[in-house]
């Protein structure tokens, strides 16, 4: 296992406490983003992206021209109104960014579809909230199978292109929440396994140095194998048809999330159709010199 990327605040001394790491810095306001990116570069680390974790709706987030070449993950709680966003679409399309919106708000699902249809890359955050699984299925089908040109929409595009019926698929990294890919640091350098655990101050180590070899570190190893517990407990998720993609992600919210099984089964089917379509397109191509 290679070293996970680091997600941390753009604290100068913290960034200088390690080098040659790939780092995603988290800021609350877009005007802090350019400076945050500069600090990562100054510290001798590699910038993965700047996460703008805003409490404002998307239509109120202004991105300056200085962010044009900075990879951005823009997270907003809601979509807002298209009329306010309309003038900024050119910029959103030109920038190297992905927009994250919570998938448990119906208006956001429309927003994700609108943005994707306009060539802006997006990601639906499938949290533990009460999802409208039917609406989400509709959106997922659009994201994966729609032939009209549109930008990628995660996690659907990722899952559809990587789904293998014979193995499990972990896609938490899309939300920076997979310890195999990301570790989260607070301003003091303490390490957590996810953004939520960082917020709840559930740390696994007081610094990165404590971790040593990540694959061997007990907390990380346990988390990566935590799915096994579903089988030990004989949890209903373990026998669900959608398990290989879901991996019990919505177990906490059961039974409210009853629709999740249907959604993930449909997603598997759509993924199969997507992959079959790709193979067919390759077969139809004539030989190349």
């Amino acid at each position: 296992m290679s070293w996970p990327r680091i997600v941390c605040p753009p604290n100068r001394s913290l960034l200088r406490s390690f080098t040659e790491r790939t780092v995603a810095v988290r800021v609350a306001h877009p005007h802090q983003a350019a400076q945050a990116a500069a600090r990562v570069w100054e510290s001798g680390n590699h910038l993965f992206c700047v996460i703008i974790d805003s409490s404002f709706s998307l239509d109120k987030i202004e991105l300056g021209e200085d962010l044009k070449h900075v990879p951005l993950a823009v997270m907003a709680p809601s979509w807002g109104k298209f009329r306010h966003l309309a003038r900024r679409l050119e910029r959103l399309r030109d920038f190297n960014l992905r927009i994250y919106l919570p998938g448990d708000v119906l208006e956001n699902l429309a927003g994700l579809r609108i943005l994707s249809s306009l060539g802006i890359h997006t990601c639906a955050v499938l949290g533990n909230g009460r999802m409208d699984w039917d609406a989400l299925t509709d959106l997922m089908t659009y994201a994966v199978l729609e032939l009209a040109p549109h930008a990628s929409m995660e996690p659907f595009s990722f899952i559809a292109s990587r789904h293998d019926p014979f193995s499990y698929l972990e896609w938490g990294a899309l939300y920076f929440d997979d310890p195999k890919s990301f570790l989260h640091l607070d301003a003091k350098g303490r390490v957590a396994l996810s953004a939520a655990e960082l917020r709840n101050k559930q740390f696994i180590a007081s610094s990165l140095k404590e971790i040593g070899e990540p694959a061997e570190f007990p907390a990380i190893r346990d988390r990566l194998q935590s799915w096994r517990q579903f089988f030990v407990d004989n949890h209903p998720c373990a026998s669900c048809g959608g398990w290989k993609i879901c991996l019990g992600r919505f177990a906490v919210a059961l039974p409210e999330n009853q629709g999740c099984a249907g959604f993930f089964l449909e997603l598997m089917d759509v993924a199969r159709q997507y992959q079959a379509r790709k193979v067919q397109a390759e077969e139809l191509r004539i030989w190349q010199p």
């Binding site: 109104k81 298209f82 009329r83 309309a86 679409l89 429309a110 579809r113 609108i114 249809s117 306009l118 509709d138 659009y142 729609e146 032939l147 009209a148 549109h150």
Partner: protein
């Protein structure tokens, strides 16, 4: 060009309305969803369309009308909005804030205006229309529906001048609605309509307003003098009845409002606008094989054969079936029976 219906609600009740039956048969809260709008936009884009029209009911009643217009412009479509101009102050302010910097070549409002004497509006409605024209005048093209033979156009020239509107007057004649005994301009009255229209030639010429004839005008009712006059304006003069292709909020599609109940389909049954138009052309041929046009003289008319004229509106042609017995194509008879038109 396709017409997208944003809502089936309307805030006006015109005596000649040929959409009334279709609108009243739809749920009150029937609004086009974003999901359906994006599907339609993708569908039209894939079909090579670059223009869309937004209709209703009254399309500006859709709570996200401004957002929808901006979205379609962003998708590369030129947008025409058919409105009656009766907007709330809040909605008009939205228009002023978000639409008044759109180039007038890309956005047009076709404002359907009624004669203040013959079809009087309430004082409040009239004030709202004036406020709309005051704000959106340069983006607005006047529209007028002819439903009586003593129509007047003077008030329109006055409005065009006062509010700096686009110099193009869309003129439509009221058509019969299948299944509804509504008032309309009959085939025998077309000549009189043309004559009255031509009597306004001086105003049209002086103000450089182009008369834009909507569907259903038959070529044979145009004296050469009128034809010569019409051809002096830029752009083609057409005597057609092409499918309008109306797409309703529930994604059903039909030929045009008067034929809304006649062989409607779902948009999801088609892969492109071309395919959809082919379907409607077939429907038209099927009817025209029985009755070529609205007049007996249409049978064997060289202009009809050359497709210079379509022989009047298809709704008029179907309306003629009402007086003809027995009806010859069982399929048409069945459809008409559903609309209680069969004898």
């Amino acid at each position: 060009m396709a017409n997208i219906l944003l809502t089936t609600q309307c805030n006006r009740s015109c005596p000649y309305c040929f959409a009334q039956r279709e609108m009243s048969g739809s749920p009150r809260d029937n609004l086009l969803s974003w999901e359906n709008l994006i599907y339609i936009a993708d569908f039209l884009k894939a079909s090579g369309e670059r223009q869309v029209s937004l209709l209703g009911g009254e399309p500006t009643l859709h709570p996200e009308c401004v957002d929808i217009i901006l979205y379609l412009l962003e998708r590369g479509f030129d947008v025409t909005v058919f409105t009656n101009g009766i907007l709330s102050a809040a909605r008009l302010e939205e228009f002023r804030r978000h639409l008044t910097d759109i180039p007038i070549e890309r956005l047009t409002f076709t404002c359907n205006l009624n004669d203040p004497v013959q079809t009087p509006a309430s004082h409040q409605e009239a004030r709202k229309i004036q406020r709309f024209l005051f704000v959106m005048g340069p983006w607005t093209m006047p529209g007028f529906n002819i439903y009586r033979l003593d129509f007047t156009l003077d008030f329109l020239f006055d409005l065009i001048n006062r509010f700096g509107m686009k110099r193009h007057l869309r003129l439509g004649v009221c058509h019969p609605v299948l299944g509804q005994r509504s008032g309309f301009i009959g085939p025998r009255d077309m000549g009189q309509v043309v004559e009255r229209l031509y009597s306004y030639r001086r105003q049209f010429d002086a103000l450089r307003v182009k008369p834009g004839l909507d569907c259903g005008f038959p070529l044979c009712q145009m004296p050469d003098e009128v034809l010569g006059w019409l051809h002096r304006f830029p752009g083609p003069v057409q005597f057609g009845c092409g499918p309008a292709v109306d797409i309703s909020p529930d994604m059903s599609v039909y030929y045009c409002f008067p034929l809304a109940r006649y062989k409607r389909k779902s948009l999801f049954e088609f892969d492109s606008l071309g395919q959809l138009e082919d379907h409607f052309q077939l429907l038209r041929h099927e009817i025209k094989a029985e009755l070529p046009g609205i007049y007996d003289e249409c049978d064997g008319c060289p202009h009809l054969e050359n497709r210079v004229c379509e022989g009047g509106g298809l709704c008029h042609v179907l309306n003629r079936f009402m007086d003809e017995a027995p009806i010859r194509i069982p399929e048409i008879e069945n459809e008409l029976a559903q609309n209680r038109l069969s004898s």
